[in-house]
Amino acid sequence: MIVYPRPMPLTGMAQQLFDILRVDQAAPEAGGYMGGVQSGFPLWVATWTTARNTRDVSDEWTAWLSTMRGAQRRFLGRDFARSFPRRYPKGFGGLRIGTTAFTGTAATWSEAIDEQDNAQLTLTGLPVGLVLSLTDLIGFRWDAGGAAPGSYGRRTVARVTEASVVNAQGRVTVGIEPPLPYFIPTTAQAHLDYPACVMTIVPADTKVAPIDRRLVATGTVIAGVQDLRP
């Protein structure tokens, strides 16, 4: 049985845009002063273009997109450049906390806002010496109200904007953007493996490419926007 929000297939991307959408209502002045306010809260938006794949991968993407039923269903949109932190592109094999293998989930997380309004995220329970580089993603997952524990139907991601290394106590503090939505429950898990956010297909920008003589659809464009719910 396919469970929604559905994860994306593992490979097959040629191009990707994965970024934070903010809408500004700016009021620039001739003197250089830029007034204005921001309208609403930040969201993740993404556009993926499929590569010239094998027939199997191409069929997998076409089938995956069909199950989305336009904008009806949700999927776990993720950054294909950051399935894991930059230093660990193949995963956390060999990293241990004491004697147990590290799976990617932090023991605890907490967020503080500094004087300059930067969000500082502290994670604990990580392997000593683990490196978090710039633009690494930290995922947060929690259960929707009334859903089975461990179903993790609600997710969001934060991007590392100040890099750091885990200290001897297994603790690290990094700057993140955007600051976490205020309603994330404290029971949410912070994790570094396959960070993802719940997204909806944007049907107006999504376009399935025609298949060629190799029976492969090259250049299917899939657009998604985050669906952030408590």
């Binding site: 809408v23 209502q25 309208s39 609403g40 309004d117 969000a119």
Partner: protein, 213 residues
């Protein structure tokens, strides 16, 4: 004059404020929606999120328009807004639009104040195939009604409701605007030129006159 809290004012001066809006519709089952994510308590009531930037734009752009109607568009019909589809119940329901000012990190609501109060008047549900679905409505402010006198007086029927034998407006519905083009082909009948159906007899005479010229 709206009074902002000092914290909100400082955030606006820095240019880091995030604005959003909240609307409360006091129908039989009150509907409370706001433009962000997550449930938001305002003055003891819980507002449901509709994740819509439009609410923020409405409250942001209509500065100084207190005496005017405020148009609201709730795009992407959300389950929370679906109750609005029951137009009979919310028509003329009292509504309050609030403006919310958040800190730049989106975590603290620095200020909220009532932007306008009024009643919902028109409520239009618009579904564009392949496009957006939206509910548009407008909050008619109380000041709007103050300038009104008397009733509608545009048709013969309205006038005859006031006084049955007063036929002053009897020709109003025929007095539409007509376009006549110079240099075109001579119309065969007057009706062709004006779009009206002339009384028989007179049309013949008019035509005959045109032919004679």
């Amino acid at each position: 004059m709206k009074i902002f809290s000092p914290a909100a004012m400082a955030e606006i001066r820095k240019g880091t404020a995030i604005v959003s809006g909240a609307v409360e519709i006091l129908s039989r089952d009150p509907i409370r929606l706001w433009g962000g994510y997550g449930r938001l308590p305002i003055e003891g009531e819980t507002y449901e999120p509709i994740a819509d930037r439009a609410l923020a734009q409405v409250s942001g752009q209509a500065l100084g328009g207190a005496a005017q109607n405020v148009n609201l568009t709730l795009s992407g019909i959300e389950p929370e807004a679906l109750e609005l589809l029951d137009a009979e119940e919310v028509k003329r329901a009292p509504a309050t639009l609030r403006r919310l000012i958040f800190s730049g990190d989106g975590k603290r609501m620095l200020d909220q104040h009532v932007f306008t109060r009024g009643r919902l008047d028109p409520l239009t549900v618009r579904d564009v195939i392949g496009g957006a679905a939206s509910i548009a409505t407008s909050i008619e402010s109380a000041a709007r009604g103050l300038g009104r006198r008397g009733g509608r007086m545009r048709t013969d029927a309205d006038q005859r409701l006031i006084k049955a034998d007063d036929g002053f407006f009897k020709n109003v519905s025929f007095a539409a605007e007509k376009n006549l083009y110079w240099g075109g082909q001579k119309p065969a009948t007057a009706a062709q030129a004006t779009g009206a159906i002339p009384a028989s007899g007179y049309a013949g005479g008019y035509n005959a006159q045109l032919q004679a010229e």
